[in-house]
């Protein structure tokens, strides 16, 4: 069911102020036809504001919204032809599931037979083909969001907007529906903006992840890129778990950390201006070997948290008492009980320095 409605979206220099608070500052984002971009950030970072501006639900802003080369900033929400899925409970409670999905066509005065056929097609796509006659309250939360997705897609929207569609759901349903949304979006090919505060969700679903902090888009890149090569210290610290290790700058390209030499990666902040700082290293970039309590990388295991495939080990460094987290495959972690003496090894090819 690939549809022809593939459009590009360009948001240019958006700025939005609520009272004294700047919700969005010089926000620019290009979305390619058929691409799925996820905006990731804590609540209040402006991600939802950006989505609502694109939807036309938030109007007092500056900047351009260009769809297929045409600025639509003046077009009201109901003329923008966007499909939107809300956080929860957005189905019309008095309409059947089929009527909900057909609603956008009904207000466009498409005749009943035609719109019902289209709605049924969409319900089949989201795996609820047999539920068309139910009412919203007869569905589970996950099913309701599937219907909301079908309703958003029924009008063959220019852009699909998903505003935290999974955050009200249980962990298991969330994961399942996340993969489902990705599959459907790939199949239909609609240009999509997805807003979430859940990192794993953003990473798993998006072609590109836009990391937002305080109304500013810090980085927008494929998930691996954001995680493995964060543009700056802010992104590095916000996305995923991160250890800060004391580091000495030994050359323009190398650091010395707990007696080990590691390559320095230069982020947006430029080259270090001081001789020391904190190196940012992920828990899975550290590993352990059994130790004898001597040496600069010596440490003691203080705690183990079993997380299924991975185990998170906390160690206290013998030298400076700082606490580090190490993520290890659980099968290997069995060799390292609480209290044992270890050496911490850095397995990172290059690291960012917070100076």
């Amino acid at each position: 069911m690939t549809e022809q409605n593939r459009v590009s979206v360009q948001l240019q220099g958006l700025r939005k102020v609520y009272g004294d608070a700047v919700a969005l500052e010089n926000f620019s984002l290009d979305i390619a036809p058929g691409e799925l971009v996820a905006l990731l950030g804590p609540s209040g970072c402006g991600k939802t504001t950006a989505l609502r501006i694109l939807a036309g639900l938030d109007t007092d802003h500056t900047g351009q919204i260009i769809i297929n080369g045409k600025d639509i900033a003046g077009t009201p929400a109901n003329k923008r032809n966007m499909g939107m899925v809300f956080q929860a409970y957005s189905l019309f409670p008095t309409m059947s599931v089929l009527e909900n999905v057909a609603y956008g066509l009904r207000v466009r005065k498409v005749d009943k037979a035609k719109r019902d056929a289209r709605a049924q097609q969409l319900l089949d796509l989201v795996g609820l083909g047999a539920m068309g006659k139910r009412l919203a309250h007869q569905l589970s939360g996950g099913q309701q969001q599937r219907v909301a997705l079908a309703r958003a897609l029924a009008i063959q929207p220019n852009v699909l907007l998903l505003d935290e569609p999974l955050s009200a759901l249980d962990a298991q349903v969330r994961t399942q529906l996340r993969d489902e949304i990705k599959r459907i979006q790939t199949e239909v090919g609609t240009t999509t903006l997805f807003v979430t505060h859940d990192q794993e969700e953003a990473m798993a679903i998006a072609d590109r992840v836009g990391v937002m902090r305080h109304g500013v888009l810090e980085q927008c890149a494929p998930p691996q890129e954001v995680y493995l090569n964060p543009a700056n210290v802010k992104v590095a610290k916000f996305v995923g778990a991160m250890n800060s290790l004391p580091a000495e700058v030994t050359s323009p390209t190398t650091l010395r950390i707990y007696g080990q030499t590691v390559n320095l990666r230069v982020g947006e902040g430029g080259t270090p201006t001081s001789k020391a700082g904190m190196a940012l290293i992920r828990p899975e970039q550290l590993t352990l070997t059994h130790g004898d309590g001597s040496g600069p990388a010596s440490a003691t295991i203080t705690n183990l948290t079993f997380l299924g495939p991975l185990t998170r080990i906390s160690v206290r460094m013998t030298g400076d008492s700082s606490v580090l987290f190490i993520a290890m495959p659980s099968a290997i972690a069995l060799d390292f009980p609480t209290g044992s003496t270890v050496n911490v090894e850095i397995r990172a090819t290059s690291v960012l320095l917070d100076f």
């Binding site: 639900l57 929400a77 109901n78 409970y89 957005s90 019309f92 009904r106 139910r134």
Partner: protein, 259 residues
């Protein structure tokens, strides 16, 4: 804990029922007394229907009720919806204004407001409808407000807008169907108030069904009781129709939907 509550519930229910049902049964028994209480029959009722003005006055009251209901529907529903969409800024003040008719005794309305009304309005019995809309305001506003507060109004409106609907379509297709029971409740409250209101009608010297009953009852106590039972049963029928009809319609629809 649940077990204990159940027996308490029974007691409460019994007490509440006794409060209403005992007087009703007594009234009905009274209304059947004929021959100075020596035997029972339906003669009082027959007498009631034969009194002059029964149909006329009942007609006036029903027309007043209808007019009041329409006014509530047309004025109040869009107003309260707009207030809810426009944010909470005005809600407090409007709520306060809606409390006013509660604290202003109806008698003050009759005297104070009555004199301030334009004369062309005062020349017809339907001026009462205006007053009934005002007097029922605290209840009708509250019913609609509770109804709208219990639904995710903003999300539904935005979902409808994003689907391409105009505000008019949104109101008609989404909002009103969703708060239909609250709308029914508000209209029903207005009707019940209009049918039973006595003070304003009497003080402004208009004849409605309640004032006619009060009139007729002077010196005919048994007949008056019979009349009160009749008007009561009539009003009950109105409630039943209004309360049951939408529900059975809805359950039919649900059955159809799940079959």
């Amino acid at each position: 804990m649940k077990k204990k509550l159940t027996s308490v519930n029974y007691l409460v229910l019994l007490a509440a029922s006794a409060f209403f049902i005992f007087p009703l049964i007594a009234a009905f028994e009274f209304s059947l007394r004929v021959n100075k209480g020596k035997s029972h029959g339906f003669e009082n009722f027959r007498w009631v229907f034969q009194q002059g003005g029964f149909k006329t006055n009942l007609g006036v009251s029903f027309r007043l009720a209808l007019l009041t209901a329409v006014a509530v529907l047309v004025l109040m529903v869009p107003t309260v919806v707009y207030l809810h969409l426009g944010g909470g800024r005005w809600k407090r003040m409007i709520e306060f204004i809606c409390l006013v008719p509660l604290v202003v005794p109806v008698i003050s309305f009759a005297l104070g407001v009555g004199t301030a009304f334009p004369v062309f309005l005062q020349s017809t019995v339907y001026e009462l409808s205006f007053l009934y809309v005002i007097v029922s305001l605290p209840y009708t506003y509250r019913a609609l407000d509770v109804g709208l507060s219990s639904i995710p109004l903003m999300t539904l409106v935005e979902a409808s807008r994003a689907s391409g609907a105009s505000m008019r379509q949104t109101l008609l297709f989404v909002i009103i169907p969703t708060i239909r029971s609250a709308v029914n409740g508000a209209v029903f409250l207005a009707i019940a108030l209009s049918l039973g209101e006595f003070t304003l009608a009497v003080l402004l010297h208009w004849d409605t069904f309640p004032t006619w009953i009060a009139n007729i009852s002077q010196g005919h106590i048994l007949n008056a009781i019979a009349l009160s039972v009749v008007s009561l049963v009539g009003a009950w029928l109105v409630v039943l129709v209004m309360a049951v009809a939408p529900k059975s319609l809805r359950s039919n629809k649900t059955q159809e939907a799940t079959s």
